[in-house]
Symmetry: D2
């Protein structure tokens, strides 16, 4: 069992830290919010009043923060210098690959190992311990992190070197946004021509239109009882989070001069939908943006 | 066993007619091309020197033609009037729903039944008898057609009333085009950031990016041995056919004032790629349009 | 002075007919709406209780109708057959070129001349007699129509043969929509980076960004006192009319397999904005769609 | 007359420096390329073997460099510290506003004044001394720079505070790309419907489609004798430069979360066109991308 410092105990980080406690790890958490810290204590963990106090004696430091800026600020040279040699740092925030790589490089220069390990699966996955982790970093560090990640998730992928976890995640989420919008367009088009959304969805799911949105997350209300579309687009993965990920994808495209016409179109559609006041709705609500009569 | 007239014995219609012969039906085919007719004769069918001669004593008339214009020209009032009462017409061409509905209505007014039953599965599916049929028309006529269609295909879907088969097919193909382009963008983006296309594809296929293009038709050369991308985009489903279907989808969108931003974007990308001289390549070659270094 | 029948006395047709009366022509109007007819009478014109009664003794028949369907219905073979030989028909409706050409061809076969002469300039231009007419048809007919059109408009262009007036108008309006959205994007981007919208607009108008939207129709509130943007986007050219024209452009693109990626994108943006409840606002309100904080 | 250091004597910077010499200024240039330096000497200027040697006694330092990275590298703290107090730095490179602002801020902290003054007008404008300068920085510094800029250009705009010159320029160029593509789409659409490109262009230029591309830079071959389209798209403003500017615009959009659907679409279209081997053609060649039959 390891001594684990967990920085960032929000909607995602909180339940993840608690799952580590449940599996027998010794977890010291840190978060600026008091109530977040209390939930961890209630579950049998400990908390600290600063990130460095939590981290300085840890074998493993895990962070779950809102943006690249926060990650870069946490992992200052000063912070890294105070860690034990060989500490394994796992950053599970979703951030840009450039920041991920540059922090990892700096950590390595100070004798620490750092991998990027962004997740998918949302708050439900964080609570159930069924998250997907997509890891970027040296194979040796990935192997070392794997049993820890297994306490919090189900599927653990190794995408490649440092930063590759971030890249793979935003590639995936860009593709998800595209087929969610595409699925919405196709169902809207069929419905306006008199087809039943459920029948059309089944036909496409058994044909070459098949995709995850049709399979488990149908955007049309009433087609799938358990999808956010059948509970007024509450819960699920928020429009604002999808917009953030599409922004990271656009940034990654600019860095490498990659053409992503549909990815960029998806970003603009989600951004406009967010600014119209729908940022906290589930991202499948984009079908309503395209057809307000849904 | 039925007397079946088969109009249009091209790359798709030819093998379909032969499969009917193999299942014991009595098939009289018609095609303007001599060589097309000869293949049917060689397989044990008959041919005729005009469409109406082939059709006038048939129980079932099947057509497989290039466009709505051809379908409307074939099924003139004069033609329909010469058929036996209660003849079942199955049009398997991919055409616009408006033409499909108007021809079906006219046929009904003359005592015939007509369903639209466009296919997917390509020439390979036509030969192997594993096509997918998506049917629009009254349930009774769909039930009557089903055993005939089963001789030529595997999955037979009933999408709804007259025209619904056409609508469902173009909805499906529009969605297919969108996730093929999206998949291409995502893989390109990952590869330019140093990821292995195969590893990235596997991660996305096991995550929420999952879709048919990743599953069976990966556009990146070398990732899937049997995909067109691994044989220089030969065979498969041609760029020109996808462009045609996206045009039908755009038309269907205009008729019903449906917003299809990604569907329209896909149409323009495929059209430009076609005009640049790639019309006969497989449609997954769009990844090369987005990144010529593939 | 001519005997002129004027079919369609709405917001556009009404004032146009009155301008013909003012210039001394003998005008008999027809409209299903009573109040529309009364305005023409008050101005010194006459009205009739059917289109054919108004038209049968006319030298010139002018129509201003909402869509191609209405135009095709009005100009039936029966209607045309009752006109005097050599009657000049001027259709000023904005419709698709295919309908325009087919009606003109039929009229010619019955001994009448028909030109398409769609307008721009809106209701203000119709009242002031400053419309722009874009004419398609033989030069001889264009020359004959010119003095009549001059009574209602300022600029009269001859775009080419039958249908060319419609094509040129929708090309123009598609381009207008594109630079209006582009102008909105550019100003939004500058403003969010702290620039003054007025200063930025002036710089672009004096540079290569120059266009009609910047010159006379700035979409940003307060930059131009007389633009619709400075009166809450009331008056002007409605979002729904722009959406209609962009639909005609998309149709014209499908017919000729022309790639119009930005034109199609503009159609979808305007359609979504219209469906969100903004159909009657001026089309420059699209800047609010892109940035609700305007 | 001032002592001016000019860093970067390429296709743009070279002729600009020479124009300063012609107006009587004392110019010391620096460029890594020998031949570039020689042209300045031939025109009566001087050169130096390092940037700092050229700049350390100058009243004014002007730079014309390919990217933000080069600008940030040139204006290091060490470099700025060696300049005379109150030196006016004019950076005419086209770079991102973030870099422009951060370098200006650092320069100010060391007692120098720095403005961003990107240009438009291309190499022809640089040679003729007719460039447009768009300046960002304090009014006092703008006023001081104005007479210097007037030696190299015609229109000098003050867009706002530090960075505003860069923002205004990329807003303008994004809008230019959009109306160039829109103009190309409109002309292609008309031509495919049988219209004369010249007549259609004139009609739109006199109507609400009016824009700079139609006015002085018609993309259709043969319409304008002096436009790049009439000399096989040679000369002019290269596709690669437009792609670069659209990338800067996309970056500026990401920073401020501004929706730029057409701007992003333009970026992807230009990038694909560039990767297909057309990077050095004039940017109006995009009409060929949309319609290879041009």
């Amino acid at each position: 069992m390891s001594n684990i410092a967990f920085i960032g105990l929000g909607n995602m980080g909180g339940p993840m830290a608690i799952n580590l406690v449940k599996k027998g790890h010794h977890v010291i958490g840190f978060d600026l919010s008091h109530s977040a810290s209390e939930a961890l204590i209630a579950a049998g963990g400990q908390t600290s009043d600063s990130a460095i106090t939590a981290a300085k004696d840890a074998d493993v430091v895990i962070s779950m923060l809102p943006s690249g800026k926060h990650v870069a600020e946490l992992y200052s040279e000063e912070f890294i210098s105070q860690l034990k040699p060989d500490t394994l740092i796992i950053d599970s925030s979703t951030i840009d690959a450039v920041t991920a790589r540059s922090v990892a490089q700096m950590a390595a220069s100070k004798g620490c190992k750092m991998i990027d390990a962004p997740v998918s699966g949302g708050t439900a996955g964080a609570q159930a311990g069924t998250l997907t982790f997509i890891v970027g970093g040296p194979t040796k560090d990935y192997e070392k992190a794997r049993p820890i990640l297994k306490c919090m998730g189900q599927n653990i992928f190794h995408a490649g070197d440092s930063g590759a976890g971030q890249v793979a995640k935003i590639c995936n989420n860009m593709l998800l946004a595209i087929h969610m919008i595409g699925t919405s367009e196709a169902i809207n088009l069929g419905v306006r021509h008199g087809l039943e959304p459920k029948i059309l969805s089944e036909i496409m799911q058994k044909s070459s239109g098949r995709n995850w949105s049709l399979e488990v997350y149908n955007p049309y209300p009433g087609v799938m009882e358990n999808a956010p579309s059948s509970r007024a687009y509450s819960g699920g993965f928020a429009v604002d989070l999808m917009t953030k990920d599409l922004g990271l994808a656009a940034e990654a495209g600019l860095e490498t001069r990659t053409s992503t016409p549909l990815g960029n179109a998806a970003l603009n559609l989600y951004r406009i939908w967010s600014e119209a006041g729908n940022g906290t709705s589930d991202f499948s609500s984009i079908i309503q943006f395209l057809n307000k009569h849904q």
